[in-house]
Symmetry: C2
Subunit: 314 residues, 2 copies
Amino acid sequence: MAVYTEVPAEALEQFLARYESGALLSAKGIAEGVSNSNFLIETETARYILTLYEKRIDLGELPWFIALMEHLADAGLPVPHPIRDREGAAIQQLVGKTACLIQYLPGVSVSVPTAAQARAAGAALARLHLAGASYTAERPNALGLSHWQASAAELGAGLDSIEPGLAAFVAERLETLAAHWPRNLPRGTVHADLFPDNVLMLGETVTGLIDFYFACTDLYAYDLAVLHAAWAFPKDGCAPLMDHARAIFEGYESVRPLSAAERAAFPLLGQGASLRFLLTRAQDWLAPPSDALVQRKDPLPFARRLAHYARLDG
Amino acid sequence: MAVYTEVPAEALEQFLARYESGALLSAKGIAEGVSNSNFLIETETARYILTLYEKRIDLGELPWFIALMEHLADAGLPVPHPIRDREGAAIQQLVGKTACLIQYLPGVSVSVPTAAQARAAGAALARLHLAGASYTAERPNALGLSHWQASAAELGAGLDSIEPGLAAFVAERLETLAAHWPRNLPRGTVHADLFPDNVLMLGETVTGLIDFYFACTDLYAYDLAVLHAAWAFPKDGCAPLMDHARAIFEGYESVRPLSAAERAAFPLLGQGASLRFLLTRAQDWLAPPSDALVQRKDPLPFARRLAHYARLDG
């Protein structure tokens, strides 16, 4: 949540001259994105988001993300179109950083989703899965099971400084997950981080799916478990909201019904999703990134959600 | 340059219901303002800037600033109109903070102004002085001579840690300023901080004068000296750009000619303006605000500009 790089208006005007965007009218650095700097740009013809990629992203992977956004937007999903310049390039250089201009989408991120909003998010995720099935380029999930194992080993007793007993609980859950993680469920392109922050809404309509920089090739039902872990609980709470939980499944299955195997695996997938956010938040908690502009998020709600899904699995 | 306070979309929707603004379409925290949190808000009818006032501002003074902005905007200056709700209130409460919705203005802040842009800024400042003359409520300049004296005393030898000899140089200049500071020049409402950051432009046209939270009642020619110290030098440089310096005076005097006494006092006023920014930057440099989101600015360019104006005074 920061602007790491300043872009002089003069440099921005030169940059926009590559596009059919018309002249610059306004540019505001916006407090969005933890791994990049973002600007809301207005020109004579339209509004755009300009992203400058900072060190947290592997630039070699950028073409995969940009092509995915374009694929989904072309399929009619509310995903921002990457904008191509007159020569067809979407990935650019600006003030020494890799940059991309994308479509601006209306909508706000809700802080306390209603069940109806959770249903809409579930349906949007299923549409993303269907549209993403024809995006066949693969990207492994860098934050999957083997990352959880490495991260837990690295954090070690540090987890107990967050809460006594947390290290042993994580180790025990990891053993179960490693033994039983499903291998044969339907898989394809997933968002892998569809928190309310990354969904723009107007009322109960999804107007934007954003921040694709954790997207990868993984189990569809795991992506739904991430959404469930993020949307089906009160803010920082651990007891699920039953209306929301039901609405998420109803919304998702109104577009893409789950198989019996996907349903059966859900308690395990929910544990995996909770562990993924527990561990990355614990990393940031114990060793905040040196740029210090990223706000630390409490890992403990995801320890509680992990315990919740583990009980379902009992 | 930060968003200190999060505003949930739900709270913002409730807040906007007080206004004739139409429904919320988008809200982005923007990286502007060091003493407050700012959001670019889009509704069905218009765009706005929402400001939440943080601890750095004395809320008792807020009505003075808001009424000034309204006075200047009503006079036709490109100053954002504060927006009043259906009951006529401009100053509100939102998520526990004092808040104000103001008009959104197009334009960008230039980083490296041209002489023509400096001329336009000079002319805009003179128009501000003329329109502000009928705003008769007074506000003393909290960052005037007596503040410089107190600040220099407090910083003491700390100034020498920025540059050896700086403390003695400041003390010597302060003695001259205290002995000769002009008392009888034309005075009225001044902006007191019209750096390029606080001017929105499209090409060579000023489309916005913003950030009035240092505005006060002081010498008009001192305000011009602030603008000169901010616009007539290369970025972080100390040798003035002669074309820019000339253009600033031409622009200003095309609207409000200076008296002989104002011209004669200019080297002294330039020293005062340089000292004001040297000292506040030195304070932030030596004791950064604990919120740490404010970017420190190098005080030394203003030590060099102080020396430049002192030579003119020789």
